[in-house]
């Protein structure tokens, strides 16, 4: 099939399958999946600028489907999502500005690659340690007291990082707000905005929606239960990715026809991913999340070593 906007020939079935895989990941983990979509489009000869912009457009559609499903399961905190969207957009602009500065300095590829490797590997190692420790602690505590089924169905989350999270929640900088949907009585608005700014900054700096940073930050820094972090992150992505799609489309970086075809597969995948979250407890979702940033790191290392841009 010929896509006239980006002047590329791509088998629509390939796009549907890629969309399907990313849809499952998005529905289950609350990530955009740009670390797969970008290289997958590039592999078919789509230019990088179109790959980035088109991926963002497709993320908007997929996140709408997944967030709607999560909302019916009670996994979306609208108040938190709207606050975070503001911070994310601001952070994304900051990340994009730093990219421009590095471009002018002439070392953008090396710096971004190394930052990406450190950040991706750091997230994976930390989440592996935390989820593994939490699962071990939980097993010891609940042995004989709570049935496995009940524990898995519970959205109340436990984390080995919990004491640090409590300390962060205790920071009292006005204005303090409550997030009843997420079960948080009081938290500083600035803590939420700072988390969103950091996520947005990496989104602008490393590309994509940066769900691999925002979802863990929401769990570990803000203390949001994992299921709610996944759903709320998806809701927040709708807003920030729409903004990204708009700015990229104006610059001529979006082939909406490719995004529409990819999205047909993502719709089914996202629904499977969302339903699957019901069968896993928070720490197990976090443990399963560990390989995702590592895939991103592996792709960056590959491009660094071979000099071949996927």
């Amino acid at each position: 099939m010929f896509f006239p906007i980006s002047h590329s020939h791509i088998n629509p079935l390939y796009l549907v399958v890629v969309g399907f895989v990313i849809g499952i990941l998005g529905g289950f983990f609350g990530v955009g999946g740009s670390f797969i979509a970008g290289p997958a489009l590039r592999l078919m000869g789509v230019d990088w600028n179109y790959a980035v912009g088109t991926d963002l457009a497709h993320i908007v559609g997929k996140s709408i489907v997944a967030a709607r499903k999560h909302r019916t399961l009670g996994n979306v905190d609208l108040k938190l999502g709207l606050i975070m969207a503001v911070g994310t957009i601001g952070g994304a602009e900051g990340g994009a500005q730093l990219i421009q500065a590095l471009k002018r300095a002439g070392n953008v590829n090396t710096v971004v690659s190394w930052v990406a490797i450190v950040v991706y590997a750091g997230i994976s190692i930390f989440m592996l340690w935390e989820s593994h420790t939490t699962l071990k602690l939980h097993k010891r505590r609940s042995r004989g007291l709570v049935s496995d089924k009940k524990a898995a169905a519970s959205k109340a989350d436990h984390s080995a990082f919990g004491p640090v999270t409590k300390k962060i929640q205790g920071i009292r900088i006005w204005p303090m707000i409550s997030l009843p949907t997420s079960g948080i009585k009081e938290i500083s608005l600035w803590t939420i905005i700072l988390v969103a700014l950091v996520g947005g900054f990496f989104s602008g700096f490393l590309g994509g929606g940066a769900g691999y940073i925002r979802m863990p930050s929401m769990v570990y820094v803000l203390g949001i239960p994992t299921h709610l972090a996944v759903g709320t992150d998806l809701f927040e992505i709708i807003i920030s990715a729409s903004y990204g799609t708009f700015t990229h489309a104006i610059k001529g970086n979006v082939d909406i026809l490719i995004a529409l075809v990819m999205h047909t597969g993502a719709v089914v995948g996202a629904q499977i991913g969302v339903v699957a979250t019901q069968y896993f407890a928070g720490p197990k979702i976090r443990l399963a999340f560990v390989p995702l940033p590592l895939i991103g790191a592996a792709i960056v290392i590959y491009t660094l070593v071979t000099g071949h841009k996927l």
Partner: protein, 80 residues
């Protein structure tokens, strides 16, 4: 395999088959019709194109979500 899981899988396979037929029709009808218009819009009116692009992907998300939900509900009832 548990009977419930087998029923769900069967319903899901049927849903996928029907969905695939619908999507194929969608590719050839809607995208073919929209292709030229969107191409012209992208080259001549970028701001309008950006707005249309977001509306299209959001609209498709809502419609396809509704289609898959209805399909799945109907097929589940049928297989029960």
């Amino acid at each position: 395999m548990k009977p419930d899981a087998a029923k769900s899988l069967r319903a899901f396979a049927a849903e996928l088959a029907i969905y695939a037929v619908l999507v194929t029709g969608y590719f050839f009808l809607v995208l073919h019709v929209l292709g030229d218009w969107l191409y012209r819009l992208e080259t001549q009116h970028r701001v309008v194109y950006a707005i249309v692009a977001i509306l299209l992907i959001a609209g498709q998300a809502v419609v396809l979500d509704a289609v898959t939900t209805v399909l799945f509900r109907l097929l589940r009832r049928r297989w029960r």
